[in-house]
Point group: C2
Chain length 251, copies 2
């Protein structure tokens, strides 16, 4: 929470630190691109990315059977399309490149621009947008469908599938069938602490907030913390409702 | 920090949860013993343990190439000798059992009792006491030599060595040469939060404490947090002094 050298340099220093720590990971300075230098070029590379501040996503999932590269922006700000394009070029070996994008407007804008450019260069880029969040807006009860924790399941499942030899077509098909079946709901024990800024919402030591977002977006309900079981019940009930639990069970 | 069902049940619930989550790990209820049910009986099992509240130590290091079993007591209280003895029996397959003990009086008492009993039963038990901590007592500058974070290096190095076929004699020799060469120094950004109790020391949001212990023991110096580099300099300088850095370098 307070363990850094200077606020502006957090993401760049973190990425350089990861490069130093792990021989198999290489960081391209000033680009936000971290890639697996042992990546098997016979398989289809999967990449993902987004703002930093969500660690271990996405850099923590670069490795064998997961992402071939991650591209990271400043704190809570998506990477620029030019860096996403660089990442696509970096991992491309002619078998196509698969991109996992979290469903946020700013992310979609940058990733779509990069994908368009890469396709213009003749790279076969496919993508999936993760939108696993079933939290609702507290004012109008609209579902938010943000791409949040479930994105990591896509990294792992698609990454393992690619490692086993899945083609770009097969990976795209699997992604399209998987993504709508992933549902998550977040709960916060504390608000997000952004260095030198006030938190985006206030939560007492004995309170929890359901349905919060990964950038400190407030949830749909604040409650006194009773016990972890109460929280599990709320989360599981909401997830069950979403997937029509009873109906599926009786099949 | 506050995510639990009831304070008394935290360790037991945690261990049952780990059993549910990982097919290869089995928890023996009411004993604090978690073991690797895929453990290769042709190799020498290594076990460790201590109070709970230090997770991921020790239960997080049960697995292939690490510990065959961990035995856990209540929060910050070492396991009873009878449960340590049960753990030794559980993993014993006739090749000897190696035990890693953290250097705390209460831990040594329970582990030594269990080892004595196990030897009476004819089990060839060897052990090492980890004492990596180079923090000093702020009042008399005596070294504390507690067994802390460096214990994990013993789990990993000895575990990997055992997996490769090291005998109980060889493991003991390696442990005896390794343990005195491991030095660590802790720094805290926050005090330990014990459920429903006051913290053992107070640390402001912008302060850090050097040389703290793993049970909330105060460190030897509190400083305003400047940046992470300042902390790294303090830690590295102290470690260098301990190992007589210059002299070794010039060899």
């Amino acid at each position: 929470m307070k363990f850094y050298t200077s606020t502006n340099e957090i993401p760049e220093e973190m990425l350089k630190g990861i490069d130093l720590t792990y021989p198999q990971l290489t960081y391209l300075p000033e680009t936000g691109i971290l890639y697996d230098n042992t990546y098997n070029e016979k398989t289809v590379p999967i990449i993902s990315g987004g703002g930093s501040g969500h660690e271990p996503a996405h850099v923590g999932y670069v490795g064998s059977g997961m992402l071939a590269a991650a591209v990271t922006g400043p704190l809570f700000i998506p990477p620029k399309s030019k860096n996403i394009l660089k990442a696509i070029r970096q991992v491309n070996s002619g078998k196509g490149v698969f991109v996992i994008i979290k469903n946020f407007e700013a992310d979609l804008k940058e990733f779509n621009e990069a994908i368009k450019e890469a396709r213009n260069e003749g790279i076969d880029v496919r993508y999936i947008v993760s939108h696993d969040d079933i939290s609702v807006n507290a004012y109008n009860f609209h579902k938010r469908h943000r791409g949040v924790a479930g994105t990591i399941l896509l990294h792992k499942i698609l990454g393992a599938f690619a490692k086993e030899g899945g083609s770009i077509d097969e990976i795209e098909q699997l992604a399209l069938s998987l993504s709508p079946e992933i549902y998550t709901l977040g709960v916060a024990l504390a608000p997000v602490h952004f260095p030198h800024q006030k938190t985006s919402f206030v939560l007492a030591e004995d309170e929890v907030s359901f349905g919060i977002g990964i950038h400190g977006e407030p949830g749909y309900r604040v409650e006194k913390f009773e016990d972890s079981e109460r929280i599990a019940v709320e989360l599981v009930n909401k997830l069950k409702a979403e997937i029509n639990w009873q109906k599926k069970k009786s099949k």
